[in-house]
Symmetry: C2
Subunit: 152 residues, 2 copies
DNA sequence: CTAGATGCAAACAGTTTGCGTCACT
DNA sequence: AGTGACGCAAACTGTTTGCATCTAG
């Protein structure tokens, strides 16, 4: 399931190799977008990637950036920062608790804090950062989605 | 900072009390929305709340539901499921890691897994749920935002 | 040569805003 | 009586889609 690649350097050759490993066509746009992503060490929005890439390819369209990001996500070349992007979701449960998420159907259920080993930060955080709380998502497959994916 | 209330039951009287404690006007719409939220034990979107509330107040507007949800969020009567609702954010870092989030400026930085005590689920999950990974957000205030809030 | 990638514009979903009217305090 | 909550419609933002054209394999 996981591909081991001989190079992870951010070079055109490495990118061709990555694409080959995932069965993706190598296009100029994809190459530049990939380069931009590797160079941006924050957690950019598609819009931010678009701005960055336009420096190289002024004629690129935002739609292409979106499509390419989805392609890269599916191939596992990049990740989303959170499974919860999109619509606002609210809850009335004011007790501290975590969430159990099915990555397939996106269902969310509550998970009592006491069911998880206590979380402690042991290392050095950026100076001055004041921790207020932990938000933990336990991500996996719910029984229903597991059954569905087995069938195929 | 935190209000202790003599009743948490979902009654009109309790709601009046809650509103009084938070300085909110008590309106019919707010009352019905609050009731609906308490009755919905999943993690509804504003749209879903709207649908639910329309059963009671057919003439209510979606804008009111949004405004009320924000009011309740600010007052702390309800919570958002994730701090990451909204725009898609992506990252090239494919190593397993967590995130450090400033709740004020919403900045995101990476946090190595090894800096956090190992996470283990100790209790019973819903039968058949297959855990794949943990997504942990360490939420707090970054140095800059802490300085800013102290000034005021 | 052909499947699929790109660019454009239009469509869409979720959310916010301005404003006139109405209701709580 | 006055502040602010409501309802409506229009505006806005982020994202997707249909389609004609172009390009990698």
């Amino acid at each position: 399931m996981r591909q081991q690649l001989s190079s992870v350097a951010n070079s055109p050759a490495a990118f061709r190799e990555l694409c080959a490993a995932h069965g993706l066509a190598v296009t100029h746009q994809r190459q530049i977008i990939y380069q931009a992503l590797m160079a941006m060490h924050d957690h950019p929005s598609p819009e931010a990637v678009y701005e960055q890439v336009r420096a190289e390819i002024p004629s690129i369209s935002l739609a292409t950036v979106y499509k390419t990001i989805h392609t890269f996500l599916e191939a596992g070349l990049i990740q989303e920062v959170s499974i919860h992007h999109g619509t606002l979701r609210i809850e009335a449960n004011r007790e501290p608790h975590y969430h159990l998420i099915c990555s397939e159907c996106r269902s969310v259920s509550d998970l009592d804090e006491t069911l998880v080993s206590p979380i402690r930060v042991q290392g050095k955080l950026p100076r001055g950062f004041e921790v207020r709380k932990f938000a933990l998502d336990v991500i996996g497959l719910c029984a229903a989605c597991r059954a569905k994916s087995k069938k195929q």
